[in-house]
């Protein structure tokens, strides 16, 4: 582990940060969260052409930039900081990683270039309501009939599932259990028998969908039945990305709390001069820095293909989730009444924190997973 970013990585961060600041003021976030797709196609296009974020982690042979998990996580942190509304998480991180992890070379050649060019957006449909995104939660079975793989079942919590051009999904061999018999598939968004519904969630800035597969013909991604390990690793990588996104949001909240406490005057003093507020902020800084350290270390582990990845992914996700929610709650408190209003931006982050808290499983589950990975 390096425990530090390279100069290039720090410059990359600045570039992304600048783009987010320029393109995603809260007015934009508010406009987009009210739309169906939840992002601005033009801005996304600009982001693809200018920085190529959509394929930052895709190997060059598939048209990507060939960077690693660290750069991807840097991007996630900055997007999270600005609550940037984009398909990056749903399409590039979730679906893109799944294709990289589960696909054979021909599958990658088949699907990744369009993702890299920014021409196509994908979504990843794994969970069926349990919320853990693990193999145990995959109940949908695939069936092989007259040369086709067919899917019948329901998937939920699908990020950007309604707006994606194609869906990467997971089903299991009939009569298989656990990690055995797991198979990845790709389904075109307009495939007959696929119905998609936007879910009503507490976080309008991240669109989730419920998909119904009614005997839908699907193309296999990787060797059907052998996808268990890929599923595990895919979600671990996504946990790390989410953890980094969360610490970005938490940092922004803390900044806003400190700033407001510095200008808000009560009893003839800036409220930031009262220990009740001041010590809260110091405590939040500690929590945010601890969560950052975990998120960064997990990103390094992901980048280095470290055997510790599963444990560190769980640790960083759990710590980031607690920290983000705590910071959001306290930032509302520090703002007082105004922090509970719709005009104030704090609630946008609070809701992102709250929805991220449960994504891929809650903290209790992740702590347990961490211990098991450490043979404790």
């Amino acid at each position: 582990m390096r425990f530090s970013f390279t100069d290039e990585q720090m410059q990359f961060r600045e570039i992304v940060e600048r783009f987010v600041n320029e393109q995603s003021p809260s007015s934009e976030v508010r406009r987009l969260m009210a739309t169906e797709t939840g992002y601005d196609a033009d801005v996304w296009r600009r982001l693809c052409t200018s920085i190529g974020l959509q394929a930052i982690h895709i190997p060059e042979e598939f048209g990507g930039q060939g960077f690693g998990a660290i750069e991807l996580c840097i991007a996630m942190e900055e997007l999270g900081r600005g609550l940037f509304c984009s398909p990056l998480f749903g399409s590039s991180v979730l679906a893109g990683t799944a294709i990289l992890e589960a696909g054979r070379t021909e599958d990658r050649e088949r699907w990744l270039p369009a993702l890299s060019s920014g021409d196509s957006l994908y979504a990843l449909a794994i969970d069926e309501g349990g919320g853990y995104w693990d193999a145990e939660g995959v109940i949908m079975q695939y069936e092989r009939r007259d040369g086709n793989y067919r899917l019948k079942g329901k998937k939920t919590f699908v990020v950007d599932g309604c707006s994606a051009d194609a869906i990467v999904t997971v089903a299991r061999q009939p009569r298989s259990t656990g990690a055995d018999g797991i198979a990845f598939f790709v389904v075109e968004g307009n495939a007959p028998g696929l119905s998609r519904r936007l879910l009503n969630t507490i976080d309008q800035t991240r669109k989730l969908a419920e998909l119904e597969f009614d005997d839908v013909i699907a193309e296999p991604l990787g060797e059907p039945g052998a996808g268990g390990a890929a599923l595990d690793r895919t979600i671990d990588l996504c946990r790390v990305c989410l953890a980094n996104e969360m610490v970005g949001g938490a940092q922004r909240l803390l900044d806003s709390a400190v700033e407001y406490a510095g200008i808000r005057v009560q009893f003839g003093r800036a409220i930031g001069s009262f220990q009740a507020i001041k010590h809260k902020c110091a405590d939040l800084l500690l929590r945010v820095e601890l969560a950052k350290s975990a998120a960064y270390v997990a990103a390094e582990a992901a980048d280095a293909n470290d055997v510790e990845l599963p444990a560190l992914a769980a640790l960083s996700k759990a710590l980031a989730a607690e920290t983000y929610l705590k910071t959001a709650t306290q930032t509302i408190q520090i703002h007082g009444g105004i922090g509970f209003t719709w005009e104030n931006d704090t609630h946008l982050y609070f809701k992102r924190a709250k929805s991220s808290e449960s994504m891929f499983g809650q903290s209790v589950w992740h702590r347990e997973r961490m211990l098991q990975r450490w043979q404790i």
């Binding site: 969970d127 309501g129 349990g130 919320g131 853990y132 919590f157 879910l199 009503n200 969630t201 507490i202 976080d203 989730l208 419920e210 200008i263 808000r264 005057v265 009560q266 009893f267 003839g268 003093r269 409220i271 009262f274 009740a276 507020i277 709650t329 509302i332 408190q333 007082g336 009444g337 105004i338 922090g339 509970f340 209003t341 719709w342 005009e343 104030n344 704090t346 609630h347 609070f350 809701k351 709250k354 929805s355 808290e357 449960s358 994504m359 499983g361 809650q362 209790v364």
Partner: protein, 383 residues
């Protein structure tokens, strides 16, 4: 009708639609009002605060003019104290009242005003002297809300409701005879309103979440209020709805999970202990004993209970906890709880202010050196 029998508010003076009941029955009002649970305080509550304040500080003309309208429910009242620039520091308000020949001119802005959109009268606290320390330059008025100089705008909260209003005064007019108490003596009058507000709130908390009213008058009123109070339907959710935790745990089956069981247990312990503490306070009051510390802790305890409840609800709902509306557990009620609980530690005095009050007034701990106590108001730094 009921109002005239004196049974509407038995503890009021005989002269004013009451029966001179001993003050030990004062809680009656609070308890009765609390029968509407969260609904009560929103409307009928505020009206009762006006009554309590006028009974203590109003002159006979004002009592004659307003009390009956309050008791019969003819008039709706709102409280115009808080301002964008003065939340925790209420006495730092800057809405001004300038004396004219036979009336006062009001200019400024209020916020967090419940019911302002359908109130006919407002209890207004405004600054009449800027050259004395902040508490000593305030005056209390009854303002007619239905006039050109008063504009009411709803204020939307993060949970989607719009329960409060911003109220803007531009050359609004208050006739001289609508001044309650003395000029520059408004702070002590406001304290009466606030004391009653606390009592109502404590009463409600003691009763826990929404309860059924009893008796004709409450039945009518409750029905009538159902529509009026739509904006306040989330108030019980603000308190975390601990009452739903066990059933939800059973519903989802996770109440067999040892870790979640601990969270449920911690919540129930906190909730029970809070209710018992409120009961201790009420019993002591009934027995005419001096109020102990247990009487001042209700609001702070409510914050703890609400947070513990939100935590338990989140664990119980699991992945579903991010779903809202008809997609979410209990048709979105859980989501509404999670998005409403942050208000409990802010509304009606932040937890920080509560800590100050408890430490200084109950524990008698030394006050902080005050930057603003004795300065003329105009010299105090402010927003």
């Amino acid at each position: 009708m009921l109002a005239d029998t004196g049974w509407g508010c038995p503890e009021w003076p005989k002269a004013w639609f009451g029966l001179d009941y001993p003050s030990s029955l004062a809680n009656a009002v609070a308890d009765e009002i609390s029968q509407f649970g969260a609904l009560g305080v929103a409307r009928s509550g505020v009206r009762m605060l006006a009554a309590a304040t006028l009974l203590e500080h109003g002159n006979d003309a004002q009592k004659t003019q307003f009390l009956r309208g309050i008791l019969t429910g003819k008039d709706t009242w709102c409280q115009l104290f808080s301002e964008p620039g003065s939340g925790s520091d209420l006495a730092g308000l800057t809405t001004r009242a300038d004396k004219q020949a036979d009336h006062w001119l009001i200019n400024g802005q209020k916020v967090w005003t419940t019911s302002a959109h359908h109130a006919n009268y407002g209890m207004l606290l405004a600054r009449t002297d800027w050259d004395v320390p902040k508490h000593r330059g305030l005056t209390y008025f009854v303002i007619d809300m239905e006039q050109a100089g008063v504009e009411v705008r709803p204020l939307k909260q993060m949970n989607g409701y719009a329960s409060f209003n911003e109220v803007f005064f531009t050359e609004a007019i208050v006739p001289a005879e609508r001044l309650v108490g003395k000029v520059d003596g408004g702070w002590s009058v406001a304290l009466t309103t606030l004391a009653n507000e606390r009592r109502v709130a404590d009463g409600m908390r003691a009763w826990g979440s929404v309860q059924k009213g009893e008796g004709a008058i409450f039945a009518e009123l409750a029905a009538e209020m159902k529509t009026v109070n739509e904006p306040y339907r989330w108030y019980p959710q603000r308190a975390g709805r601990p009452d739903l935790v066990v059933s939800q745990g059973r519903e989802t089956g996770v109440d067999r999970d040892p870790v979640i069981r601990q969270a449920i247990a911690e919540l129930l312990m906190l909730e029970k202990a809070s209710q018992w503490t409120a009961r201790r306070a009420r019993e002591a009051h009934k027995l005419g004993r001096p109020q102990g510390p247990e009487g001042s802790l209700g609001k702070l305890a409510a914050s703890h209970v609400a947070r513990a409840a939100a935590h338990a609800h989140t664990m119980i709902a699991g992945g579903q906890s991010l779903l809202a509306g008809e997609d979410g557990p209990l048709d979105g009620l859980i989501a509404e709880i999670l998005l409403s609980v942050p208000a409990i530690s802010i509304a009606g005095g932040t937890d920080e202010i509560q800590h100050n009050i408890i430490a200084e007034r109950v524990l008698g701990m030394p006050k902080e050196p005050r930057a603003d106590a004795d300065l003329p108001f105009r010299d105090i730094p402010r927003n």
